[in-house]
Symmetry: C2
Subunit: 457 residues, 2 copies
């Protein structure tokens, strides 16, 4: 049987697969920091070369930001597109890492062997599960079972500024029957998941300016406006006492989840205490009257991701600063329009601005939520294929993280996406000591072989 031969090849080639992944992990392709632009190019070039070694016609396409890696192979059968991203998050605070984030290694942990390093789980390790599945398939069968377009982005962690223009300019080339995206997680250790609801993301940075220079808080304190206090008032006012977001009209396009879906979610036996307990928390901090699963899958949020103003070095400085800045993100659901929300947010901020203060905004990207058509038979085929690989049946789930690409593929290319990934809640995404279970990498490769087989049989 062809599939079994491919799975056997995957098993026997695992060490070589890991060596290849480690080469990619060693490139510090931090997309949000301009200091690492060359490294992003290096990662893109590495992927082009690796795809070419599989017989894929691949190239790194320049953009105003980091390149897109595009590859095409095959000319018959269903046409799949595969998406992953080769850029990674910054690594600060570096002192909290146990080792160099870009010197990956396999480590033994109480939970099993893990691959430790920045980008292992988000998203280089996941991206390579699909590439390695293709490599094994070709090794056994000489060619892939269908047409495949590879699409690797380098700006996913920095708001994807080049993505929409690139999709629009290359829409004809990038058509496919369905897209496979590997940037999500398992539901739990033994239960694979196909994510069919994704929250959108709106990123905003605001800087409040009061006096035209930093002041001495002794000379001016009490009489002069303090922009940190203004900013704290704005941030504090974004939520009411029940945890709801106060931006006018924010909830207008937020749907309630259908009772049947809620019942399915209840049946998953989600361990909310364990989820929060894994990061030393005990009480859900979101909207009153909502379950933790709702909070992270189906409810919109507003979070402050960074705040800075005045003196933050060692010791103390009695400065009354001229400026204070916050980075704020909204996770969006249902039909919430990110541009409408942005306007409403900015209007809210301006309405809270006292005399003598000005505000400047920086746009850090905007993408709406996505809801996938699970009645497409491909979804059920993939779900059964995944169920064959893992101890428990695969589930259709929601996801808290934002992968705006799924929405853009729908809107611009007319292509639906199937989001299948093998990350885990304890992978420390975006945090120090990111890891990816070796089991996720290995069974992830095997999962993609099964899905390829299921969708092309």
């Amino acid at each position: 049987m062809t599939l079994q031969a491919v799975l056997d090849r995957i098993d026997s080639d695992l060490d070589a697969s890991l060596s290849r992944l480690f080469e990619l992990l060693r490139v510090p392709s931090i997309s949000t920091d301009p200091a690492f632009a060359d490294d992003c190019q290096t990662a893109a070039d590495w992927l082009v070369k690796d795809l070419q070694s599989l017989g894929v016609t691949a190239s790194a396409r320049p953009t105003p930001g980091h390149p897109m890696v595009i590859g095409h192979v095959g000319d018959t059968g269903p046409h799949l597109m595969f998406y992953g991203h080769y850029d990674v998050q910054p690594v600060d605070p570096l002192e909290l890492w146990d080792r160099d984030p870009f010197d990956p290694e396999i480590q033994d942990t109480p939970g099993g062997k893990v691959i430790r390093g920045r980008g292992t789980s988000d998203d280089k390790g996941q991206l390579m599960t699909f590439v390695e599945a293709c490599r094994a398939w070709i090794a056994v069968n000489g060619e892939l079972p269908c047409q495949i377009t590879f699409f690797f982005e380098g700006e996913e962690e920095s708001g994807s500024p080049s993505l929409v223009p690139f999709l629009k300019e290359n829409a004809d080339e990038l058509k496919a029957d369905i897209c496979l995206i590997c940037d999500t997680g398992l539901f739990d250790h033994d239960t694979p998941a196909i994510t069919t609801m994704l929250r959108g993301l709106l990123g905003e940075e605001l800087t409040i300016t009061a006096a035209d220079k930093d002041l001495h808080s002794g000379s001016f304190g009490g009489a002069a406006r303090n922009p940190i206090r203004v900013l704290c008032d704005i941030v504090d006012g974004l939520h009411d006492d029940t945890g709801r977001i106060t931006v006018p009209g924010f909830y207008d396009d937020v749907p309630e989840i259908a009772p049947a879906v809620m019942a399915q979610w209840d049946g998953l036996g989600f361990d909310a205490d364990g989820f929060l307990g894994s990061v030393d928390l005990s009480e859900p901090a979101g909207e009153q009257g909502r379950s933790v699963l709702e909070m992270i899958w189906s409810r919109p949020t507003c979070e402050v991701n960074g705040i800075t103003g005045g003196y933050s070095g060692d010791g103390f400085k009695t400065v009354l600063p001229s400026q204070a800045t916050a980075k704020i993100s909204f996770r969006l659901v249902g039909q919430q329009d990110p541009f409408k929300i942005r306007d409403a947010f900015r209007a809210y901020v301006r309405s809270k601005l006292p005399s003598d203060c000005t505000v400047e905004f920086i746009d850090h990207g905007a993408g709406g939520a996505s809801v996938m058509p699970t009645d497409d038979p491909a979804f059920e085929k993939a779900r059964l294929a995944l169920s064959d690989e893992w101890p428990k049946p695969a589930a259709f789930v929601g996801a808290g993280g934002s992968i705006p690409i799924a929405g853009h593929f729908q809107e611009i290319l007319g292509v639906n996406s199937m989001l299948i990934g093998f990350g885990k809640d304890d992978d420390q995404l975006h945090s120090p000591n990111e890891k990816y279970d070796l089991r996720s990498f290995h069974k992830g490769i095997r999962s993609w072989a099964r899905v390829l087989d299921a969708l092309t049989r």
Copy 2:
């Protein structure tokens, strides 16, 4: 006449006085940053050598922090102590400086010639006015007219951690009839001031911790506690809508200013619009119903001097941070007890802390307000001497800045202080492009010669 000869000598020696000041200004003695500890020692050593050149028995006394420079000269007549500080504020943001903060120069400005550089006004330039007055006096008369103890601190900008223990250990040596402190300002360009009311200062740093690691705001946002939001709630709650501070009991020991003093202040013709307008502000931001002069001289304040949490680099990072930190200072007046206020502040913070959050505090110093006995005849003598030097008569005024040393001298040594200084509101203390008017330096030296004469005649 002896005084006139001294004043003439000051005029003719001004260039040499400036050269000496520039040597001291070039030493980056930033006390709050441990990286500059050696520079603080260098500044102390420079002062010891300079005092020794005047025949003063001087030494740099080690402390757990930066050294105290102590010098004694003379054995008859009244015993004056002179206090200044040789440490300076940090210089960030460095990019807002027009030149190297530690490469001072004389610049022509629309307001006249200024000495530009960190520490010119706060406090090296002021400190050297007194030293240069003594140098001129000795050059003319061969010796000083009284006993003088020089006391130069190196930790004034970092909470003076070594000061109280040092005063207690050396109380007998540091007795004097009165202390002269040069770390304050003119009332306005033509009106010198003796500051007789000083606000106290309490410095607190608080760090809120929620989850035990930074989280991905996609995976956890909505469900996990965000310490930045908690911190903003705490900061926002510190003031009510009328600008009053909400910490329980905060105003218990805050006196109202006597109507006669208020009348005197009204007579000063303080230009509140000009004061705020100088930093591009137009409306007083403090307690409703208080004048700007009250806000900065006689009312207590609470300011956030720094805030930090999450990602603040270029671009965007969808992190939900584990921690957020603020540096908060209180200016205290009247009989407010800094230790009682600290306890009340910490209790307030703890009362606002939601579940799953912890708070840690760092103590950045605490000193009460000082009110000086203006009925001591020395105050009137000094006021008249200053009035002789400047276009307008000198005034007894309050000050917004905190110079806890005056309180410590009262409490530990039983010595009252006369605070006379020549800084101006536009000196950009603690800010980029700090300056000291050349006129302030020159007339400051002359002022001290007159005060020395008046207090020892």
